[in-house]
Amino acid sequence: MTTSKLLIIDDDRDFAEGLAEFLELCGHDVDIAFTGEGGIEAAGKDAYDAILIDIGLPGVNGVECLREIRQSDPKARCFMLTGYSADHIAKLGLEAGAAEILTKPIDPEALSRRFCTVKNGI
């Protein structure tokens, strides 16, 4: 099983830490940033197989954060996290270059399996 190097950018600390802990248990290597600015900085320093970005970040919001990361590294695979199931938000994220929109609450097991394959570009 292939594991991934992941970055979670979410201001909801409990959610970010819970997800990171779980994904690490599954063998992934996970970093966390709690702000958009922190996320952009982390993404600039390291190469990640996938980056999960919450849409509702304070300051630099999720879509701006995603856009900036993709500007620096057009190959970055970014997933947008949202509590809304509304389509217009999904549309914004996809327009900014998100690979997929993940609606909370996400199924952590399915997500982990997903990241076992993401590295292979599937």
Binding site: G18, L25, Y84, D87, H88, P105, I106
Partner: protein, 408 residues
């Protein structure tokens, strides 16, 4: 002698002139008059105008009026009692002033105002009655017209008031729903974040406990199920709050509905019957929203049947009938179940947001369906025979939503 004759002739001439002037004046004023002999009870004199109002010549009137029943035959049946009463008053010495309708032999009718006074002899007995009558038909008709107009106006005002009241109620309801929608939308979204944290943490715990024999599996399963339930409630809240306008698609309803139902889990023991009575014409609707509405009603129906009607062996035996109909005025999807039906006291409340009879219900299911159908320009109808099942009709305008309603 000659002077006497001349004077007599002069007097006669003056009298004739005077009579002629009176005749002309009364004719101009449309005033009739009569003299009645109260002792012998017969008409002594009737003017042209008084006779005309009764549709007769003066001689005819005199001949007819002297026979009492025949005289009353000239009065409108509805006014006969009033006229009889007035005549009795007059005979007993009281002056009268009344209005009544005549009926002429040719069937015409006039409104008449009649003023009459008794003439007494020296002993105080009524010997004559002198009356004046006036044709007031024009005035009375105008009055009648005004009365009718007034009544009509009042009726129109009542109708308009009722319309306005119902419009106001609709507006108030929509405003209440909008406020409620905003609130539920915000709350639901805020709850999703912590719920996400709980879900990931449960997964962490489950992983760490795996193979440890701590015996936490059942507890963790319960947490997992509860998370799912919370999530379903949040979805319902968000569905209800959604107000993004419709995304219209044009398609035939029956193949679309058939696909929707194929994806839907129908519990064992429930058979689905189809009835399609449309010409297959395409209808414009928002497939996501209409699917939500249909599924909501189908789930309710299945739930009612699995909880309500069980055979002796505890098995479910229900029938879900789906009918699609189209006529000139609307397109209907009717969903009927054979469950216990909706109790009569619950029926008026099922569309109230947050009203629920289920222990796990949010009370937003049917209000959401109603919102969706109303956004389509259609509506929702609920019929139920307690003990015999419920029948829910979702209807759309004949061509579905029109372009103005759809938001691209």
């Amino acid at each position: 002698m000659e002077t006497d004759i001349t004077e007599h002739k002069e007097a006669e001439k003056r009298l004739r002139n005077s009579e002629e002037r009176l005749r002309q004046a009364t004719q101009l004023a449309r005033i009739g008059y009569y003299v009645w002999d109260a002792i012998e009870d017969r008409c002594l004199f009737c003017s042209d105008e008084h006779a005309r109002i009764h549709g007769l010549s003066p001689d005819e009137y005199i001949a007819r009026a002297s026979v009492l029943d025949a005289a009353f035959s000239l009065t409108h049946p509805d006014d006969r009692d009033a006229v009889k009463g007035a005549m009795k008053d007059l005979r007993s010495g009281k002056p009268i002033d009344i209005e009544y309708r005549t009926i002429t032999p040719s069937g015409e009718s006039y409104y008449v105002r009649e003023i009459a006074e008794p003439v007494f002899d020296e002993t105080g007995r009524v010997v004559q009655e002198i009356g004046a009558s006036q044709d007031v038909t024009e005035r009375a008709s105008a009055e009648q017209e005004v009365r009718e107009l007034n009544e009509h106006l009042e009726q129109r005002i009542e109708e308009r008031t009722a319309e306005l009241r119902s419009m106001q109620e609709t507006l108030l309801r929509k405003e209440r729903l909008a406020v409620l929608g905003q609130l539920t939308g915000t709350v639901a979204h805020e709850l999703r974040n912590p719920l996400g944290a709980i879900a990931t943490s449960v997964s962490v715990i489950r992983h760490k406990c795996a193979g440890t024999k701590l015996g936490l599996e059942r507890a963790l399963d319960r947490v997992g199920r509860s998370i799912n339930r919370c999530d379903n409630i949040i979805t319902e809240l968000l569905d209800f709050a959604r107000a993004k306008g419709l995304q219209a698609t044009t398609a035939a309803l029956d193949p679309w509905l058939s696909d929707v139902l194929k994806e839907q889990h129908i519990p064992d023991g429930i058979t689905v019957k189809w009835s399609v009575q449309t010409n297959g014409a395409a209808v414009s609707f928002d497939p996501d929203e209409l699917r939500r509405a249909v599924i909501n009603v189908v789930e309710n129906a299945c739930q009612a049947m699995t909880e309500g009607v069980r055979g002796n062996d505890g098995t479910v035996a229900g029938e879900l009938t789906i009918a699609i109909r189209a006529n000139g005025t609307r397109v209907e999807i009717e969903i009927a179940d054979t469950g216990p039906g909706i109790p009569a006291d619950v029926l008026p409340r099922v569309l109230e947001p947050l009203f629920s009879t289920k222990s796990f219900g949010t009370g937003l299911g049917l209000p959401t369906v109603q919102r969706i159908m109303e956004e389509h320009g259609g509506g929702l109808e609920i019929n139920s025979d307690e003990g015999r099942g419920a029948r829910i009709t979702l209807w759309l305008p004949p061509d579905g939503i029109n372009e103005k309603r759809a938001v691209a």
